[in-house]
């Protein structure tokens, strides 16, 4: 096969000098003991004498440390052991992740009384057991040292009784009390609020979402008479058109949509058929990167595109100036019409008119009742912008007597925060129920901290009819109280909230036993799947919407788009170190927000021409990036620039959720800038795009990008061969393309069949019992990063902080590589999760001088920390660059107490706090400084599963285990199991997909244990032309 040009970085695309130098070395650091060329060894930075000194000292120190007397350890059993608790055995309790409006049914793994890991609940038909990075990371929030530990009045600690007394008096006299919350998905909480409102006449409930979906809600009210969002059914869609909706990453319910979407993307090799997804966007998003075809436009053109798509779908001619864009719209329309009745259009716009037009398109293509279902609504977002605007006005007018805030943080996320804050000062009784002293809570008189969801009772109905229950998995760590309890108390109810929830649901599910059962499974589903409801579409507002939407003024020379990052969201993840250190799937940056610009704009703005080797290298190799000043409506912030192909040339993007108050945690302190200030009202809804002016400041600021880390290139195999991607058309024409390629490449060694034996001088070893194997379907994987965080949580992977990421010291055992193919302005993007490949002929094993890494009979590449002496030969010899070295004592596991000071930053030290350490998995060693670590295939889970089978005296089955990344994946892209068992899922995947299976760097004869299924993109022929163009460009340069 003519290899397509696939590249990870600009240096790779250009084959620059710096790139070629960089890929030769595993580690950036020079060796300490090497003398400079012309100087003698003694004059080196650290000469031999120093070395001997260090050696002598460390030997003496180790001896001194080791010869200390054995400490006396206590073993303190329970005084009265609960029958169901066995020390050292984990229990799983069904509960629900709730964060503002987000709902994901989960199981909490509780070990010796503390939850340490969340796993998706397979019994939920909404998520199907999937999770997201944020769900995985939320368990760490429970042990956040920045959580509020007691109630306060005016910042002084009080008891709940005292607070109740004080508030009780204040509230009675208040007129116009307002409960301000983020979207409430809990039925019982809504009841509690209703009771409170009934008790206090003149009070009301206002819902505020940091990232508003007001546009959809209001459009549906206009066209369907319901202020609600219908269910989307991506799995039923053969053609999907998204107008800037990042539904795989951040839009509404990404876990649910990712699962549905992957359904249409998984292909059967015998009869390949895929959904077709065409994406329109301004700034590269996760969903856009996964699209089959992607078209770029300016944010101000959104309405015009929607209108044009509507007329194209109806068969009329369209007039769009941009030729590419016009083609794209026609193509999208063609695809939608061809799949009428199985097509779907979604839009991420918060403009009511755009959403009305989108509804009209969906009506025209017969989406309602098939791909959009009114039988159950999505309740994840319910805030109406106008309501909140009115609240702010009322507050400033002094007509709000009491404000009770839960989940909402307008002082941070409302674009006119000053106005809100001014109004808040005029509210006599302001009460915050937030778990941390966030930007809003700090301004409130009363702060009555709420439980973390893992300490709470409750329910959540993200999708109507599908309820997920919340039960506490740990006793409250601090003096906190569920906010519903406060409301109940103040409205004079006798029962507390837990009793309230129980009474409410017991009545619905058949009494006490029904309740117990429901609590055990965690979800309450409709007895039969609900029949799809079409709804009645009212087309009368459409024409008005079109004229209103398209009459808007043209955008200026530069436009800005605010977007959410997968980990940080609207700022909820900012204080979570796991999420801060999770590289953004697109930019691969950690610990910051920045201005995303296109290569073309970069050329003008910061004078970096990516086709110029020197400039591209200077930009890419050095962490400090040029800064720009972005001004919108007189407000401005300065941020560094990242050049991201796939961004519209006149558009810049900035992620919201950064620039949070340091009160919410060490991880958030000083990280990024708040971009919410650039939002504004457009009509009655908040708009997250605007005209902007951008000027280079000449400053530089380091951004911790992981993209250029872990690169590798030798004559034996460089990155271009790691990834295999082809279009559906190519696949249909020649399904055996990849297989034949492999066959041909391995021909000198006897072909694929005999390669293991003939490709090497080593003998072939039997694997008598179990042979662990993994397969990753690149068609299903969308790069969301849930697996990365799950891996960190399961395996105690250390957080290293920004300064260390800058030095390439990040510790993630599993990374998701981003590959580009095609042209620089709008390339295709492919994601590839890469973890230790557990090679059966592993190059790392051969070079370890102390045999700290070696092979097991089960096919595991074992890493033994206590034997490792840290030569790093293995990492240097690993062709996949998946081994990680503990450069510093990130975990506090060393025996020397003072070797963290001044070396690791506050965030890392905070991760070593006694409270935070409660999240550690006790089955996995906490690694100390100076050892290599890497993916172990979650060996602790494998061992546990084997033991379970042994105790039951039966062979191991697929259902016995899931590795952490596999469990977390919302699209089930990862299959894992015993490859020796013909009946196992992993064997079946390999047998069923001979054409797409490949091993990464197979030609090295390292015999990896992980198979990948090649990415097939439902794009058309033009690919060839694109690849050709790149070649031409290269030829020109040469």
């Amino acid at each position: 096969m003519e290899q397509k040009k696939i590249w990870q970085s600009f240096g790779e695309l250009n084959q620059s000098e710096a790139f070629n130098k960089d890929v030769k070395d595993e580690f950036k650091e020079e060796l300490t003991f090497v003398a400079e060329d012309d100087k003698s060894f003694l004059e080196a930075k650290a000469p031999r004498r120093d070395f001997l000194k260090y050696l002598g000292f460390s030997t003496a120190a180790a001896a001194a440390a080791a010869s200390c007397e054995m400490p006396v350890r206590k073993s303190i059993p329970f005084a009265n052991r609960p029958e169901e608790i066995v020390p050292g055995v984990s229990k799983y309790y069904a509960t629900t992740y709730v964060q503002d409006g987000d709902v994901v049914a989960v199981l909490a793994k509780v070990r010796d009384g503390r939850p340490i890991k969340l796993e998706g609940n397979d019994l939920s038909p909404v998520t199907g057991g999937g999770t997201s990075a944020r769900v995985q990371a939320s368990v760490l929030d429970l042990y956040d040292t920045a959580r509020l530990r007691f109630p306060t009045i005016d910042g002084k600690e009080v008891t709940f009784e005292a607070a109740d007394m004080s508030i009780g008096d204040a509230i009675k006299g208040a007129t116009g009390a307002v409960i301000l919350t983020s979207t409430v998905t809990s039925i019982t909480t809504k009841e509690v609020i209703a009771q409170f409102l009934a008790k206090f006449p003149g009070s009301r409930h206002v819902t505020y979402d940091a990232v508003s979906y007001s546009g959809i809600l209001q459009a549906n009210e206009l066209t369907f008479g319901k202020k609600a969002i219908p269910s989307y059914m991506f799995q039923n869609a053969k053609a999907i058109v998204s107008l800037g909706a990042d539904f795989l990453g951040t839009w509404l319910s990404p876990v649910e949509f990712a699962k549905q979407y992957a359904n249409g993307k998984k292909i059967n090799e015998q009869n390949p058929a895929m959904s077709k997804h065409i994406h329109f966007e301004s700034v590269a998003s996760l969903t856009g990167s996964n699209a089959d075809e992607k078209f770029l436009h300016r944010p101000s053109e959104t309405a015009a595109i929607a209108a044009a798509l509507l007329s194209a779908v109806k068969g009329s001619e369209i007039s769009i100036a941009d030729k590419k864009l016009k083609e794209g719209i026609e193509k999208a329309a063609k695809s939608l019409i061809a799949n009428k009745g199985a097509a779907l259009v979604v839009s991420g716009s918060n403009d009511v008119n755009v959403q009305v037009i989108v509804n009209a398109i969906n009506d025209a293509i017969g989406a309602y009742g098939v791909t959009i279902d009114w039988a159950s609504t999505l309740n994840y977002r319910a805030g109406i912008d106008a309501d909140f605007v009115k609240l702010v006005e009322d507050m400033n007018a002094g007509t709000v007597g009491a404000l009770l805030i839960h989940g909402a943080n307008p002082s941070y996320s409302w674009f006119a925060a000053d106005k809100f804050n001014a109004g808040l000062k005029k509210v006599k009784t302001s009460i915050s129920f937030n778990t941390k002293l966030d930007e809003t809570s700090v301004l409130c008189k009363y702060v009555l901290p709420d439980h973390h969801f893992l300490e709470s009772w409750g329910d959540a109905e993200g999708k109507s009819g599908y309820t997920s229950l919340i039960q506490p998995t740990i006793n409250p760590l601090f003096k906190t109280r569920q906010w519903q309890d406060s409301l109940l108390k103040w409205s004079g109810a006798a029962a507390d909230y837990s009793a309230f929830v129980k009474t409410y649901w017991s009545a619905k599910v058949g009494g006490e036993t029904g309740w117990d059962k429901a609590l055990q499974v965690g979800v309450i589903n409709p007895s039969a799947a609900l029949a799809a409801v079409k709804g009645s579409f009212n087309s009368s507002p459409v024409s008005a919407a079109i004229s209103a939407a398209t009459s808007g003024k043209k955008g200026g020379p530069v436009e800005i788009v605010l977007y959410e990052k997968i980990g940080i969201g609207a700022g909820q993840g900012a204080s979570n170190p796991w999420l801060q250190e999770l590289p953004d799937p697109i930019t691969r940056a950690t610990w910051d927000n920045y201005v995303v610009v296109s290569p073309k704009m970069a050329k003008e703005l910061v004078k970096i021409d990516l086709n110029n080797n020197g400039q591209a290298d200077a930009y890419e190799v050095n962490p400090p990036k040029p800064c720009v000043k972005v001004t919108v409506n007189g407000k401005s912030i300065e941020l560094p620039v990242l050049i991201i192909p796939g961004t519209q040339e006149n558009t810049i993007g900035i992620a919201v959720g950064y620039g949070r108050s340091e009160n919410i945690g060490k991880a958030a302190a000083g990280v990024g800038k708040n971009a919410f200030i650039f939002a504004g009202l457009s009509g009655a809804t908040v708009s997250f795009s605007a005209d902007a002016t951008v000027t280079a400041t000449g400053e530089k600021y380091p951004v911790a990008l992981t993209q250029t880390h872990s690169r590798y290139g030798t004559a034996q195999g460089n990155r271009t061969e790691v990834m295999k991607e082809l279009s559906l058309a190519e696949y249909m024409a020649n399904p055996k393309e990849i297989l034949n390629d492999r066959e041909e490449e391995l021909k000198p060694y006897g072909g694929i069949e005999k390669y293991e034996g003939q490709g090497s001088m080593y003998p072939v070893y039997n694997r008598p019992g179990i042979k662990w194997g993994m397969s990753v379907d690149l068609n299903s994987c969308n790069g969301c990063g849930a697996c990365v965080v799950a891996c960190s949580a399961e395996n105690n992977v250390a957080v290293v902080g920004k300064p260390e990421v800058l030095r390439g010291h990040e510790m993630h055992w599993l990374r998701i590589d981003r590959y580009y193919s095609g042209d620089m302005e709008n390339p295709n993007v492919v994601f590839q999760p890469l973890m230790c490949q557990h090679c059966d002929n592993a190059p790392c094993e051969n070079v370890c001088p102390v045999a700290a890494t070696n092979h097991s009979t089960e096919g595991l590449n074992q890493m033994t920390y206590n034997r490792c002496i840290g030569t790093r030969y293995c990492a240097n010899n690993c062709p996949y660059k998946v081994r990680r070295f503990n450069w510093a004592d990130y975990t506090g596991a060393d025996s020397f107490p003072d070797n963290q000071e001044g070396i690791v930053n506050d965030v890392v030290l905070n991760m070593n706090d006694d409270l935070t350490r409660m999240v550690l998995n006790p089955d996995v060693t906490v690694r100390s400084r100076g050892v290599i670590e890497k993916c172990s295939f979650c060996v602790q889970r494998l061992q546990e599963a084997k033991l379970t089978a042994k105790k039951d005296s039966r062979p191991l089955e697929d259902g016995d285990l899931k590795v952490a990344c596999q469990q977390a994946c919302p699209t089930h892209a990862i299959t894992f199991g015993n490859a020796n068992n013909k009946e196992s899922a992993i064997s079946k995947v390999r047998v069923d997909n001979p054409n797409r299976s490949f091993y990464v760097l197979e030609q090295l004869h390292v015999l990896p244990g992980v198979t990948y299924l090649a990415k097939v993109r439902n794009a058309e022929e033009e690919k060839e032309a694109k690849a050709g163009k790149t070649e031409e460009k290269k030829a020109e340069k040469a």
């Binding site: 054995m70 066995v86 009979t857 920390y865 191991l956 004869h1005 390292v1006």
Partner: protein
């Protein structure tokens, strides 16, 4: 495609074999030890010892002592005079290695013995060779009968000490003689050179002589190295650790005299990683009614008599219990026991793996707990100790359905390719690989 990896792979390649030789580390170490030992012996300080008796003693205490005493009936019969009772040594060998199989041969004596001991089957020891068993038998013979006047016992250590002293003195004498001869030799040579009229170099005194210095340095280095290594290996190990506990709790009284099953209190051992220390409410299940101790006199390790009833009172204090009143478990306070068995953090050990899946007796690792008033650490809990057991212990290969996937081993067992007396050991299915215990 060139294979750059394979070049150095060839050098170190053997590390990646499925049964990596590094697991033999222990034996290498012992070889090294032996080498150093012989060197040291050569150098004069004699460490003479009776290796086979030593072996027999070790083998006895690791394999037999849990159930057998030499002179006292225990779980199994007293072993003194066993060879008189079993005149046919081959039968005895067969019995020890696989008592179940031997019973099936219908041997009358064996079956009587089996019945006499309430049909308690003796553990299988397929890992013991005939030589090992003979060593154990030899050791049994050397143990004096109780009450006998210990004539052998009292003289033996002296004799041993005499021997090494004798060897030491002899070596020293020989060394002095050698030194004198060397001096004589060099003096003679000097004389002959002087005779021939050549000039002689000034004589270097032997304490400044490079060869002597080098020789002494090497000796010191080897001796120092040996002692350091030995000391380092012992660091962090605490065999025979026997702390004083907050309550004098006698395992001998509970598990020995009163025959309470270990798992009654330590039920966690078959369910999970930890063999939990029982909570106060478990103690109170029995001690609500058992208020005083009336058994044999009990003593601390120092020989001080203990008042059992007082110790029960201590328990009541923790439990918040007064005799005659109902017991309220929620009022109980936990007891802070001192932990005896400590493993390093990087070792994963799961009790249920051994107790439930492996069907290993508690006594195998914890010693004859039914005889310990105060518990002490029986095994050294070193890695060598773990590995050695994994090498010789068989898994429940035929009885446990999990192992049905090892089809090849089953065939080989049937066809005799694998020695059925040795069977499938833990090592054979990968039980000595690093990531079985370290992750």
């Amino acid at each position: 495609m060139s294979c750059s990896y394979h070049i150095f792979a060839a050098v170190n390649g053997y590390f990646s074999t499925p049964e990596p030789p590094f697991v033999n580390m222990i034996s290498y170490r012992s070889i090294a030890k032996t080498l150093i030992l012989s060197a040291v012996l050569l150098l004069g300080s004699s460490f003479a010892m009776n290796l086979s008796a030593q072996d027999g003693k070790t083998l006895f205490s690791t394999n037999c002592a849990a159930c057998h005493a030499v002179n006292k009936r225990s779980t199994g019969p007293a072993l003194a005079g066993v060879e008189d009772r079993w005149p046919d040594k081959t039968k005895l060998h067969a019995w020890v290695k696989n008592s179940a199989a031997f019973l099936k041969t219908g041997d009358v004596y064996a079956n009587n013995l089996y019945n006499e001991y309430n049909k308690t089957a003796m553990n299988l020891f397929p890992g013991l060779s005939d030589k090992d068993i003979d060593a154990i038998l030899a050791y049994i013979k050397t143990v004096p009968a109780p009450g006998a006047d210990k004539p052998a016992g009292s003289t033996a250590p002296v004799a041993e000490g005499d021997n090494s002293l004798l060897f030491g003195v002899l070596t020293l004498v020989l060394a002095v003689v050698a030194l004198i001869l060397l001096r004589v030799n060099s003096n003679l040579r000097k004389l002959s050179i002087e005779r021939s009229g050549e000039e002689t170099e000034a004589e270097i005194p032997f304490w400044k002589h490079k060869s002597y210095i080098a020789f002494i340095a090497v000796v010191l280095f080897i001796a120092g190295g040996y002692l350091t290594t030995k000391g380092a290996m012992g660091l962090g190990r605490s065999q025979n650790y026997q702390p004083v506990q907050p309550i004098y709790y006698s395992h001998k009284v509970h598990a020995g005299t009163n025959q309470i099953n270990c798992l009654y209190c330590h039920g966690g051992a078959q369910e999970g990683k930890h063999s939990n220390i029982p909570s106060v409410n478990i103690c109170m299940n029995c001690h609500m009614n058992i208020n005083e101790y009336k058994g044999e006199k009990i003593y601390t390790e120092e020989g001080v008599e203990v008042d059992g009833t007082k110790e029960i009172q201590k328990l009541y204090k923790y439990a918040g219990f007064t005799v005659g009143k109902p017991f309220d478990a929620s009022a109980a306070k936990p007891i802070e026991w001192t932990r005896i068995h400590n493993l390093p953090d990087h070792v994963y050990f799961n009790h249920s793996q051994h107790v439930k899946a492996g069907k290993v007796q508690c006594q195998t690792c914890h010693g004859d707990i039914t005889k310990m008033d105060e518990v002490k650490q029986f095994a050294d809990l070193s890695m060598g100790w773990c590995i050695n057991c994994h090498r010789t212990t068989q898994v429940q290969f035929k009885d446990n359905g999990f192992y049905s996937i090892y089809e090849k081993f089953h065939q080989d067992l049937k066809s005799g390719k694998i020695d059925s007396t040795k069977g499938i050991t833990v090592e054979k299915i990968g039980g000595t690989e690093c990531q079985k215990c370290h992750y």
